[in-house]
C-alpha cells in the first residue's frame, strides 16, 4: 500500500486505433452519438452543433481533428461533453469518439513524458503517456485542443489557401 502517491481518475476512450484519456473530472457527460447540424464556412473537424436538452453544443470530430482517416461510425460512437478551461473562462465542448471505455486510477508516477517522436498527432495536444498492460494511453490536453482562437485562425488559413 503506497498511499503516499496521489492518484487521479482518468476517462479512457478510443479514436481510430489509439487510446486516449482525459481527467474524469473534465467529462461532464457521455451522450449517444447524434447527428450534428453543420455550420457553414467552418473547418471540417467542426462537425456542427447538437441540441443537448435545449442548449446548443459545438461538436468536434476527433478523427478529423487528430488528422486520422475518417472511418464509418460504429455503434459505439459517442459524444463526450467536456469541460474546457481557457485563460479567461470555461465552456462546454462535445468530442465525437469511437468508443468510450472505462475509468482508471492512475498514480502520478505512472505518467511518463511525451516521447520526442513517433506521434502523428500534434505534440501540443498530448501532455503525457500512460503505459498499462502493454497498452499506451495518451493523455490529452483538451484545453489546448479546443482553444477559442482556433476558429478564426483556421478561417484565415482557409482564406490564404484560396488565394
Amino acid at each position: 500500500m503506497d498511499g503516499t502517491q496521489k492518484s487521479i481518475s482518468y476517462f479512457i476512450f478510443e479514436v481510430g486505433e489509439d487510446t486516449f484519456s482525459v481527467p474524469v473530472l473534465r467529462v461532464i457527460n457521455v451522450l449517444e452519438w447524434m447527428k450534428a447540424t453543420p455550420i457553414p464556412e467552418t473547418p471540417a473537424y467542426l462537425e456542427g452543433i447538437v441540441n443537448v436538452m435545449g442548449e446548443l453544443l459545438p461538436v468536434i470530430d476527433s478523427q478529423v481533428k487528430f488528422g486520422m482517416e475518417k472511418t464509418e461510425l460504429s455503434g459505439d460512437s459517442c459524444i463526450l461533453v467536456l469541460d474546457i478551461h481557457s485563460d479567461k473562462e470555461t465552456y462546454k465542448m462535445g468530442l465525437i469518439v469511437d468508443k468510450a471505455r472505462d475509468v482508471i486510477e492512475v498514480k502520478e508516477n505512472e505518467i511518463a513524458g511525451v516521447p520526442d517522436m513517433g506521434l502523428e498527432l500534434n505534440p501540443d495536444y498530448v501532455t503525457g503517456v500512460i503505459n498499462r498492460e502493454e497498452e499506451v494511453i495518451l493523455l490529452l490536453d483538451i484545453d489546448k485542443i479546443f482553444t477559442q482562437k482556433e476558429i478564426t485562425e483556421i478561417k484565415k488559413a482557409k482564406e490564404n489557401q484560396k488565394d
Binding site: 447540424t37 453543420p38 455550420i39 457553414p40 464556412e41 467552418t42 452543433i49 447538437v50 441540441n51 435545449g54 442548449e55 446548443l56 453544443l57 459545438p58 474546457i84 481557457s86 473562462e89 465552456y91 462546454k92 465542448m93 479546443f146 477559442q148 482562437k149 482556433e150 476558429i151 478564426t152 485562425e153 478561417k155 482564406e159 488565394d163
Partner: protein, 668 residues
Amino acid sequence: MGNEQFKETFKEEAQDYLNSIEENLLGMEKNKSDSKAIDNIFRGLHSLKGGAAMFGFNRVNDLAHQMESLYEKLRNKEMSPDDSLISLTFRSVDIFKALLKADDRLEDEQAYKQTLEKIETLLTKVEGENGETGKTKDSVSKSDLTTYYIYFNPSRDVLDNGTNPLYLLDELMNLGEGEVFVKTHDLPPLHKMDPTRCYLAWEVLLVTEASEEEIREVFLFVEDESKITIESLAKENLLSRESVKKELQQVTDDRNISVEKLKGYAAEKHASPRPTAVEEPSYEKQSIKVASSKIDELINAVGELVTYQSQLSMLSTQMQNPQLEEFREGMEKLTDRIREVAFDISLVPLKTMLLQFRRLVRDLSHEQGKEVVFYTEGEDTQLDKTIVEHLYEPVLHILRNSISHGIENEKERLEAGKNAHGELRLKAYYSGPEVHIEISDDGRGFDFEKIKNQAVKQGLIDPGEDVSQAKLLEMTFKSGFTTTYSADGVSGRGVGMDVIRSTLSQISGDVKVHSQKGKGSAITLIIPLTLSIVDGLMVSVNNRHFILPLTVIDRIETIEASRLKKHNRIISLKGESIPCIPLFFDPGSDNGGQGSYPTIVVNYDDTKYGFVVHKVLGNSQVVLKSLGKYLEGLKVFSGGCLLGDGTIAFVVDVRRFIEEKKEESKTK
C-alpha cells in the same frame, strides 16, 4: 441565514439611497439653492442611517448620522451649501459605498477619519455661529394642530426582521396625542395561530403638529410591506369634540373608524369645508422591485414557451384538425402577448447607468482641472438589462478618453477659438432594430498623424501609402493597436478601441468612430435591442435552415439563376443596383435552385444588399441561443435556435455577414 438575506436587501436598498443622494448632489452642484435636493439627500442619509444601525454597519451609521446633522442644518437654513460641502458629501458617498462593499470594514481608515473630522468641524462652526437662533427656529410657527387618521396593517411577517409594531405606535404617539384602536379581525382561532406572525392591524387618530411626511417617516422601514394609510381629517383637534368622542366609542374590533363621518364632523364647523383633497386613495405603488435573477428565469421560461408554441403550430398544421387549429390560434396570441410583456420587463432605461457616468465626468474633469459640461439625451431609451451590463466598461472607457485626451485644457481651447469649457455629449436613440449611443466631445479629435505612424510601425500600411482618415480610424480597432501619447504612460486616444469593439461584439453590437482633427470626435456604439428573441424570416439553403432578422428586411425578390454571374454579383432590381450574395452556397455548382432564386433584400447602413437563398420558408419567432464560447470567433451568426421539430437553425448577423463579405472582396 435569514439575517444574511436581510442584510443583502439592506445593501441593495442602501445602494438606491446612495444613488439618489448622488443624483441630488449633482443637481445641487448646478443649483445650490435647490432645497428639494437638500431634502432628498437628507432623507437618503436618514434612511441609510436607520438601516445601517439595524444591520450592524456601525461606521456607516456614524458617518450617516454626522452627515445627516449637517443636512439638517442646511434644511433649517442655518448654513448654506457650498462647493466644499458638496465635495465632502461626494467623499462620504464613496466611503459609504466602500463600507457597504466590505461589510463595514475600513480599507482607508485615514479617509474615513478625515471625513468625520471635517464634518465635525463644520458642525461645531455652524453651531457656534447660530448658537441660539437654531433653537428658536424649532419652536417657531408650529402651532397648527392637525388630526390624522392612520391605518397601519403590517405584513404578517413584520416580526421577522425584528420590528416591533408596538414601538412604531409608541413613536407615533410621541408626535402628539391620540387614540389607538387595535383591529383583531384577522386573528385566526388559537390553534391555528402562528406565534411568529403578526395578525393585528391598528387604527389611530392622531392630533399632532407633525406633517404627514413626518408621520410617514415613523413607518419608514415597514412602509413597503405594510398597508399604511395616512389621511388628514381636519386642521384642528377633532378629539376634543363630543360628537367625535361618541363616534369613537362605537369603534370596535371589527368596526372601523369612519373617516367620512369624522371628516363630516370636521366640516360641521367650517362653513366652507376644504375640498376633499384627493389623497392617494390606497397608496398603491406604481412599480415593484424584482430580483433580476427572477427576470432571467422568466425570460428563459418564455423562451421555452415560444419553442413549444412553434412545435404546437407545426403539429396542428400537420393534423389539420379544426378544433386543434382554434386552440393553436388562441395559444399563439397568448404566447405573443406574454413574450412581449416579458421582453418589456427585461428592458431598463439607460438612465440607470447614466448617474455613475455623470459622477465620473465630474470627478475626472475636476481632477484634470478642466471644465467639462456633460449633456445627456435620450435617457429614457430602453435596453435589455443584460446588454446594459455590458455597456458600462466601453462607455466608461470612451468618456475617460474624451476627458483625458480629447478635451484640451482651457488655455489651449481659448487659443483654438473654442469655449473655455469642454462639451461632452451622450446621446442615445433608436435606429431600427438597434439602439445607438453616441458619445461626442468638442476636443482636439484623433491625431491622424500619430495613428498613421503607428500603423506604419505595425506594418498595417506602407509609409508612402495614402490612407483615408476613415480607414485610419478603422485601424485603431485592430487588436493590439496602440498609440501612447505622453511620457507618463497615460495611454492616448485610440488605445483600447479594440477592447471596446470586442466587448460590444459579445452582445452582437458594433462601434463606429468619426473624428475631425481639432474639432472633436464622436464614437457611436451600436447595440441590438434584445438578445433573446428574434422575429425572423426562415430561409433554407441546401436544406439547412437560417434565420434573417425581420427588422432589416426590405422585400423579397426572385432572380433568375442566369443573372447570377460568377464575377459580377451586382444585379439590377427595380432600377436599383444591388450586390447579391449567395447565402453559404456556390451557385456555380448548385442544383438546388430551380432556375430562379428567392433573394431577400436587406437594408443595412442605408444601402441595400441581396441575400440569395434556395427557399423562403416563412416568418418565424425564435429564441436566440449562444453557440458557445468556443465559437465566439464565428461572427456571421448571432446564435442558433431550436425549431419546432428540434432541428437547429442559425440566426444570421446581417451586419457582420455584410462586413465580412466586404472585407473579403477587399482582399481579393
